[in-house]
């Protein structure tokens, strides 16, 4: 097990190397000059040149790349141009606010989605099944920015019962925080919830129709144990895969949702960083997201091993 983990970690290094290199090239490829953006339209050519020197942008690109790589290997991810703070600090500051809505909506999506999926599978071809699968299809294909704007227009503008933007403040009471979370969470959980419902339904249907479930019933095992213990555990792997992907996107922040609701999370920060050509911040954040994805993929693989004893990544096993 430990060997597998170590092996997987080593395998991640080339991935991360490629991510850093590509981000470096792509950020440099965006038109615009960070020094110019920072100083504003009034800045003179000398000011801009001085700022470029200060930011190290006067160096040749390959030199900048080598310097950046060297810094990253030493654990230094640079300083943001616009915030003038270390990139790591900025990311760490924003994580709690992002997780506040992303994790909440993921948990809701998981519980409700898996519940609906199981119910649908157990009542296949019932009216409930049809209604929910159509809703799930709508949910999966709903453009999130459209949904966000519709929610705002209905609940905030027309009904005026929920705030339009911001994070709320615990000093104004718990309701202030919750009321600010409702719309972003609703917006964020739609797609994962629909995905969970659909994947759970199809996975459960496959398992329920299998010989091992028939054999369990023939042995007189109670229906509750057959469904919740045996069938669910057998149906878990695809659900875990989706969960892993969704969990990873929890950390990358919900760029669209955060922008719509002006939520001060990682998503809005990377949008700002790109708009301001804040190279260091973009590179740092993309690398951070890449690490998160790699780690969660590893965790998903480990979860497979725990659920399904036949899965072994060490070449032994079946």
């Amino acid at each position: 097990m430990l060997k597998t983990i170590l092996k997987r970690i080593v395998q991640c290094i080339p991935t991360l190397f490629i991510v850093v290199t590509f981000t470096f090239i792509l950020t440099r490829a965006i038109p615009g000059n960070p020094a110019q953006t920072l100083l504003g339209p009034q800045a003179t050519a000398e000011d801009i040149a001085a700022m470029e020197v200060k930011l190290g942008l006067d160096q040749p690109k390959w030199k900048q790349y080598i310097d950046y790589m060297g810094d990253v290997l030493h654990g230094d991810f640079g300083t943001s141009y616009m915030y003038n703070q270390p990139v790591v600090d900025l990311i760490l500051q924003r994580i709690p606010s992002t997780l506040q809505i992303t994790l909440t909506s993921l948990i809701i999506a998981l519980i409700v989605g898996v519940g609906i999926g199981m119910f649908s599978a157990l009542h296949q071809y019932s009216a409930f099944d049809y209604v929910f699968m159509v809703l799930a299809l709508v949910g999966v294909s709903m453009p999130i920015f459209w949904l966000g704007m519709m929610l705002v227009s209905f609940f905030s503008v027309n009904l005026g019962i929920l705030p339009v933007m911001g994070r709320g403040d615990i000093a104004n009471g718990l309701w202030d925080v919750i009321s600010h979370m409702i719309l972003p969470c609703l917006c964020l959980c739609t797609i994962p919830m629909a995905t969970f419902a659909r994947i759970t339904r199809s996975s459960m249907l496959e398992v329920i129709g299998s010989d091992s479930i028939k054999a369990l019933r023939a042995r007189g095992i109670s229906e509750r144990s057959v469904i919740f213990k045996h069938a669910l555990k057998n149906a878990l792997p695809p659900i875990i895969t989706v969960l892993g992907l969704q969990l990873a996107s929890c950390f990358t922040g919900a760029i669209l949702t955060e922008s719509i609701f002006s939520w001060p999370g990682l998503g809005t920060m990377i949008v700002n960083a790109i708009n301001n050509r804040d190279y260091m911040l973009i590179q740092g954040m993309v690398l951070f997201f890449a690490v998160i994805f790699v780690v969660i993929n590893l965790l998903v693989d480990l979860a497979y091993m725990l659920i399904n004893p036949r899965v072994s990544y060490e070449g032994g096993g079946a």
């Binding site: 091992s212 054999a215 007189g220 109670s222 045996h230 555990k233 399904n308 004893p309 036949r310």
Partner: protein, 338 residues
């Protein structure tokens, strides 16, 4: 020995599909005494497995339905049991062994855990006692190092071992009746013999009745006291094993027996088959189901369904031309039907 354990009369199990009603089992009746082994033979799709699944009411919930008949087990009607009674009944009174041992065990739970769950579902024992019973049962079916095997996952065992585990599970609650639905079809020949011997031993030891479903007539000869030949959802012939082999009467039974390759056959020609395919089960019930494949077919065969007639004590045949008034002579099967 002669006490009746199971009496099935007029069992009809239909499947309601989008394209029509499929009469998978269409009026099957049989009796089984305590300690007896009954074999059901027939080709694929003849209704053998549906018959056995009907006995424990294990049918696909939406499509499969038992529409008529009575299944009495020790005088209790299985068809009127509540769901709860049925749960207690399955596994405890009637154990089932399915065809493919590799898929009959839950792949993600250890064998020990599955056995303990089964034992605890039917007997009031602690987990520890259940574990000991499971180890004892594994030992009984000839599994080496049973304590170690308890911690194994199904995929870690061979097919033969898995089938032994399933047999151990089947017998650990001391059922009065075991349904063995092609228990050896998925195993290779040497292991088949071992598994059948084991079943036979256990059956003698516990005086259990067995319903053995197979399409291997050799297995029937070895194992069964009585045989029922099924075709297209109906019984076409039933008798005790010796009679059926020495004096088979239905042309379909002849066809089955002729299909067994024989070492003594010097010609070493092609394997004999019964030409044609079984009828569409949605269209049966108007005439003899075998008429389109039968070399001895007459006009009468297409007019009505032949009833199952007792032509000699204990020997039943459903054939218009074998009902006692007329007697066919088994000849060379030369008919080549479509």
């Amino acid at each position: 020995m002669s006490e009746t354990l199971l009496r099935v009369s007029g069992l009809k199990t239909y499947f309601y599909t989008a394209s029509g009603v499929s009469k998978a089992v269409d009026g099957v009746s049989f009796e089984l005494n305590r300690g007896e082994v009954l074999g059901i033979v027939g080709e694929s799709g003849s209704g053998k497995s549906v018959t056995s699944n009907s006995l424990i009411r294990l049918l696909p919930p939406r499509t499969g339905r038992i529409v008529d008949g009575e299944i009495l087990f020790e005088g209790r009607n299985i068809l009127t049991m509540s769901h709860k009674e049925l749960l207690e009944f399955r596994g405890k009174e009637i154990a089932t062994i399915f065809q493919d041992p590799m898929t009959s065990l839950d792949p993600v739970f250890k064998i020990g855990k599955q056995m303990v769950e089964m034992i605890c579902a039917h007997q009031k024992v602690s987990k520890k006692e259940a574990r000991e019973m499971a180890i004892h049962a594994l030992k009984r079916v000839g599994i080496p190092e049973p304590e170690k095997r308890m911690e194994a996952y199904p995929y870690e065992l061979s097919g033969g071992m898995c089938q032994r585990v399933i047999i151990a599970m089947a017998v650990c609650c001391k059922p009065k009746f075991i349904i063995a639905d092609e228990p050896t079809t998925a195993l290779d020949v040497t292991v088949q013999a071992q598994v059948l011997d084991l079943l036979k031993d256990l059956q003698k030891e516990m005086n259990t009745s067995i319903l053995l479903i197979t399409h291997n007539l050799g297995v029937v000869w070895e194992m069964c006291d009585k045989v029922m030949v099924m075709y297209a959802g109906n019984t076409v012939e039933s008798a005790d094993t010796k009679t059926l082999y020495s004096n088979p009467l239905h042309p379909y039974t002849w066809g089955l027996l002729d299909s067994i390759p024989r070492l003594s056959d010097e010609t070493k020609g092609e394997l004999r088959t019964i030409p044609g395919t079984p009828p569409d089960l949605r269209l049966t019930g108007k005439c003899c189901n075998f008429y389109n494949r039968c070399p001895y077919v007459t006009d009468k065969c297409c007019e009505s369904v032949p009833p199952l007639v007792e032509v000699e004590p204990g020997h039943f045949v459903a054939c218009h031309r074998q009902n006692g008034e007329e007697r066919l002579v088994r000849g060379e099967v030369t008919h080549d039907a479509e």
